[in-house]
Every structure is written in structure tokens, then in C-alpha cells.
């Protein structure tokens, strides 16, 4: 298995999680994030979602994100698996996994992976509603703000983002 993967079939969470666990025997801390398709958007019922991606650029961007986050938080390992194609409520859309010596790095790394993925990886969601209408999901400003948390101040090259800042 590689560190990042875009797949058109349902994500096999159990095997991904077991594989990541087996490969990181020496890590004290493992964090998983699973994003699932929700069946509602406000009052509207979503019957299906389509996930489109930009083949080639998407994989390259995910690989850059995984490597950047792995290095920044001194992770033992980082993995991103993202679904594309048509899916229904409850399906996993994305799995990210991090392995580190301690929990702060594993948590921060997983959050950073998601924040970068949400703002940089070329995926687009289209929701299909129960009434037959559909719409492209709008990018959220809160995701942009979340990603900005990890931007390093240009003048402090030694700072590693939130992990250091929160444990003064």
C-alpha cells in the first residue's frame, strides 16, 4: 500500500486501519480521521454524492501534503485515502491516518492533513437531493481559516505550528 490513494470503490476501512497499525509497530500514538457522507444538508435530504477529481494533479498534491505534514510534525507515517465517484449516505469519503511517538504530533498531523486536503487537493463534491435537484458544494471559508492555522510566520523558522504553541 502507498501513502496516498484515490479510489473509485468504497474505502475498506478495516483493512486500511489494520495495515497502518501493522506498519507502525514502534509508534506510541496513532490517529485516524474518517469523513463520512451525511444524508442531509440543512433540511434537504441528500440521496447521493458525486466526487470528481483532477487525475494526476490530485495524487501529486496529496503526496505533497502527506510529505509536508509528515516532515513538519516528525511523524513516523502518514496516509491519505480518498474516495471518488458516486456514493450514498454513510459511506466514508476520506481516511487519514498518522503515526507518531507522542499523541500531540499524531493529532496535529491528522488535523493538518485534513485542513490542507480540504483547501488544496483538487476534489469537487456534487450533492443530489431527494427532490431531483443537485448542486456543487461551495468551498467553505472556515476550511480556509483552518488551513491558515498551519502557516508559519516567516520570521520564526524554528516554530513548528500549533504543537509548540499550545504547550508553552
Amino acid at each position: 500500500m502507498t501513502a496516498i490513494r484515490v479510489c473509485a470503490t468504497p474505502i475498506d476501512l478495516a483493512s486500511e486501519i489494520a495495515d497502518f497499525f501493522a506498519r507502525n509497530e514502534g509508534a506510541g500514538a496513532i490517529v485516524h480521521f474518517i469523513g463520512r457522507m451525511r444524508g442531509t444538508d440543512g433540511d434537504a435530504r441528500i440521496v447521493a454524492m458525486e466526487l470528481e477529481h483532477y487525475p494526476g494533479m490530485c495524487e501529486a498534491e496529496l503526496a505533497r501534503i502527506a510529505e509536508e505534514v509528515r516532515a513538519r510534525f516528525s511523524l513516523d507515517d502518514a496516509r491519505i485515502v480518498h474516495r471518488i465517484g458516486r456514493m450514498t449516505a454513510g459511506d466514508p469519503i476520506v481516511l487519514v491516518a498518522t503515526a507518531a511517538r507522542h499523541r500531540r504530533e499524531a493529532f496535529a498531523g491528522a488535523e493538518a492533513l485534513m485542513d490542507f486536503l480540504k483547501t488544496r487537493a483538487p476534489f469537487w463534491k456534487k450533492e443530489h437531493f431527494a427532490d431531483g435537484t443537485s448542486r456543487w458544494v461551495e468551498a467553505r471559508e472556515s476550511d480556509e481559516r483552518a488551513a491558515q492555522r498551519w502557516v508559519l510566520p516567516a520570521e520564526s523558522t524554528g516554530v513548528k505550528g500549533r504543537v509548540d504553541e499550545e504547550a508553552p
Binding site: E52, Y54, I93, V94, L117, W124, E138
Partner: protein, 91 residues
């Protein structure tokens, strides 16, 4: 493929940009004076009403040149793969 004198670029479109244009890609001969992302979008939007409609909301478009995000001043050259798409919404 035989390269035209001015050279060609490969354009790829995603999400609602693709839907409004009614195509997911096209190859176009690049005019000599179209040398930046901003000029490329201006020129594309003038091709026909489909292009004008799909590319109207400039502030909502993202451009990637050869699979890396590119700002309005980024150079455009014959042989480039240029993608135009809305802000991303994965995860």
C-alpha cells in the same frame, strides 16, 4: 499530433466549469500575445457564449498550469496543460 506554428495548449475543466462549457477538455492553438494566465482567461472568455458564461465569475476560478496552482501573472506557453476549476471541496 502535429504542432501548429503558434503551438497548442491542452485545457482541462472540472466541476461546474466543465458542466457549463459542456466539455471536459479541449486543445487550442495559443495566440502569440497570450502569454499569462490572466490573458489566457480573457482570450478564452471571448471565444463564444459558453466560454463567456463558464468563465464569467473570475474570482471563483482556480487555474493550474502543468498541475500546479498558478496566479494571474503566471506564464503560459505552448505545450502547457492548463486546468480551470472552482475552489476545491474534497474531504
Amino acid at each position: 499530433m502535429t504542432q501548429a506554428k503558434t503551438g497548442e495548449i491542452e485545457l482541462v475543466y472540472f466541476a461546474w466549469v466543465r458542466e457549463r462549457l459542456g466539455r471536459d477538455s479541449e486543445r487550442l492553438a495559443l495566440p502569440g500575445d497570450v502569454d499569462s494566465v490572466a490573458r489566457l482567461i480573457d482570450w478564452l472568455a471571448a471565444i463564444d457564449t459558453d466560454h463567456a458564461d463558464a468563465l464569467a465569475a473570475r474570482e471563483r476560478l482556480v487555474v493550474a498550469v502543468n498541475r500546479e496552482r498558478a496566479g494571474p501573472d503566471h506564464p503560459v506557453r505552448a505545450g502547457d496543460e492548463i486546468a480551470v476549476f472552482p475552489p476545491v471541496t474534497g474531504g
